[in-house]
């Protein structure tokens, strides 16, 4: 049975198509792996019966000679995606007992393409966090360094942990300021945040609407390409969805990057980055050079303002997006004698501390007298940040940066909000500019924790991002498996 877990998404797809293995076998192996790794806390909801039902359909399809792009491949879904008749909570107490009557566009795309649903994956509450410690149902544990309880990163911590622990062949994530790329880096897997507008936001619990973007968390770059092919689509139900066809990303694997220009932003090499990360960053630069790319120093002068901008805009949007959790139409209600008391009690009890903190900040920066100084100012600086990237992309094709300033840290070590926010320092700028970015594992630090490297491409250049990341992946040849992974 354990042999089945060795396949990555692409490998499993080929094995199923060639009838080497069946989807039911594979799905059963993953259900068993979920049980074996349950102490990691990655899953909030497991849908065993549904998974096997879907796997059976896939096997029937294969026997009939029909095979959809993700036929029979068992995956996990971040709990931010609304899934029809399957409990969806955004890891929040306030949504406990919420059973959507609808399916998000992204997950529907995956099911339409034959993927098999294993269950719902934990995340930071309403995707607000970088350690998966804000989930109502408890922490998720990084499968790396079994002897210690390390953070899987966040907010897509459950997704990253499940893929690294081999309790999902792949998973969906959402990324607002780094929530796919940072946990991917912490868990030694690949995480891709597409260009804003590539994946429909319809049916995804909204955190910060101008930033939220769905993407895949996978074992390899090829897997990311395969999965994003299915996730991305133009959706008339999302006014911010881009009406552009995604080229078949699989056809960009193996492309040479000879002559491509890679920008190295000087603002991304600063104090506070661990030495191991600095070393592997340098190694990555060398690998790209060896592959024929030209390395060009660039400057993104407004980088240091990205986090402040993010911590104004994202909470502002969140304070408004989360107003609908009021105990009237869905979710938990705390009874009270007046409507306002009911609202205050419901939201006071239903939201965790970090969510409340962000709602408070968001309300504050939008409130009368402060709007111009905070929110409007942040929107202006956001433009400058976007323009920085536009200028750089006139000179280079891709930008290479570390994914995170440090590798994973221990869970439960009380970190104040600000220190936590610094985790996203390298991922937030591309989010603010709406650019696609990928984090892939390139090595281990002294402690044996994975190190991620980030590539950022120009808007809608996911094809080029895949080609370049694939080259880097080959050079890094990262083939470590987390010690806490299912075997």
């Amino acid at each position: 049975m354990s042999d089945l877990l060795k396949y990555d998404l692409l490998g499993a797809s080929e094995a199923i198509k060639s009838k080497e293995i069946s989807s039911v076998e594979l799905t059963n192996a993953y259900i068993e792996a979920i049980e074996k790794t349950s102490s990691l806390g990655a899953y909030l909801e497991i849908v065993k019966d549904k998974a096997l039902e879907m796997a059976k359909v896939s096997d029937e399809n294969i026997s009939k000679g029909v095979s959809r792009p993700l036929e029979g491949l068992p995956i996990g879904i971040k709990d931010m995606f609304c899934t029809k008749d399957i409990k969806t909570t955004a890891s929040s107490k306030i949504l406990d007992n919420f059973y959507p009557t609808y399916e998000s566009t992204v997950t529907q795309n995956l099911w339409n393409d034959g993927a098999v649903m294993l269950g719902k994956l934990s995340c930071d509450e309403f995707a607000m966090g970088s350690s998966n410690e804000t989930a109502a149902k408890g922490n998720v544990i990084n499968p790396w360094l079994k002897h210690k309880k390390m953070s899987p990163g966040g907010s897509s911590g459950g997704s990253a942990a499940a893929v690294a622990a081999r309790s999902a062949l792949a998973a969906t994530g959402t990324d607002t300021g780094g929530s796919i790329r940072q946990p991917a880096a912490f868990c030694g897997i690949t995480g891709l945040k597409p260009t804003y507008g590539r994946c429909s936001r319809w049916g995804i619990v909204a955190f910060s609407s101008s930033l939220d973007q769905a993407g895949p968390l996978t074992r390899t770059v090829s897997d990311a390409a395969l999965m994003l092919n299915s996730m991305a689509s133009y959706d008339k139900k999302d006014s911010t969805s881009a009406n552009l066809n995604m080229p078949d990303l699989m056809s960009y694997l193996g492309n040479s990057i000879k002559g491509k220009k890679i920008g190295i932003p000087k603002e991304y090499t600063q104090d506070g980055i661990s030495d191991d990360i600095v070393n592997f960053y340098q190694k990555s630069i060398n690998w790209l050079k060896e592959a024929g790319a030209e390395i060009i120093p660039v400057s993104l002068p407004h980088t240091k303002y990205a986090l402040p901008v993010y911590y104004i805009i994202a909470p502002a949007e969140a304070s408004s997006n989360l107003a609908r959790y009021d105990g009237v139409r869905f979710g938990q209600r705390k009874e009270a004698s007046s409507l306002d008391e009911m609202y205050e009690a419901t939201r006071g009890e239903g939201f965790g501390d970090e969510v409340k903190r962000r709602i408070m900040i968001g309300t504050y920066v939008l409130s009368s007298g402060y709007y111009d100084a905070y929110y409007l100012k942040a929107q202006k600086v956001r433009r400058l940040i976007k323009e920085d990237f536009e200028n750089v992309f006139k000179k280079v094709d891709y930008i290479l940066t570390p994914s995170t300033p440090t590798t994973s840290f221990e869970l439960g070590k009380k970190q104040d909000p600000l220190t936590m926010y610094l985790n996203d320092i390298f991922t937030v700028p591309a989010s603010l500019a709406g650019l696609p970015g990928i984090s892939l594992p390139i090595g281990l630090d002294k402690l044996g924790l994975p190190i991620g490297i980030q590539l950022i491409a120009n808007s809608f250049d996911e094809p080029g991002l895949i080609s370049t990341a694939h080259v880097l992946e080959k050079s890094a040849d990262f083939n470590f498996i987390a010690d806490g992974a299912a075997k």
């Binding site: 804003y196 303002y305 402040p308 006071g348 309300t363 100012k377 202006k380 104040d416």
Partner: protein, 100 residues
């Protein structure tokens, strides 16, 4: 965004919590006040950026707002709309009485 503005005190926290409809336990108010001040202090460095000729950026998408046709394509699903309601009665959502 002078430092003066960024000083949040407990009355401010009460006001913001009220606007946000959040019940904050008394014992958490001081630490929340500190957190807010730290975060507002952290974002205060935006002040040093010259944005005098910069238009605010609300959306990074390059396209125009798409328009849909005026056709009835949705609705008639009271059951689904009410399915998750904590309290409903004869087709209505029910809340504690509102006095205007």
């Amino acid at each position: 965004m002078s430092n003066k503005k960024s000083i949040v005190d407990i009355p401010t926290v009460n006001k913001i919590a009220r606007l946000s409809r959040l019940d904050i336990p008394e014992k958490n108010k001081q630490s929340l006040t500190n957190d807010l001040n730290n975060i507002l202090g952290f974002v205060a460095n935006l002040e040093e950026v010259d944005t005098s000729n910069v238009e605010p950026l609300a959306s990074v998408t390059g396209h125009k707002l798409p328009l849909r046709s005026d056709i009835v394509t949705d609705g008639n699903m009271e059951d689904l709309v009410l399915k998750n309601a904590p309290e409903s009665s004869s087709g209505f959502f029910v809340v504690p009485k509102v006095i205007e």
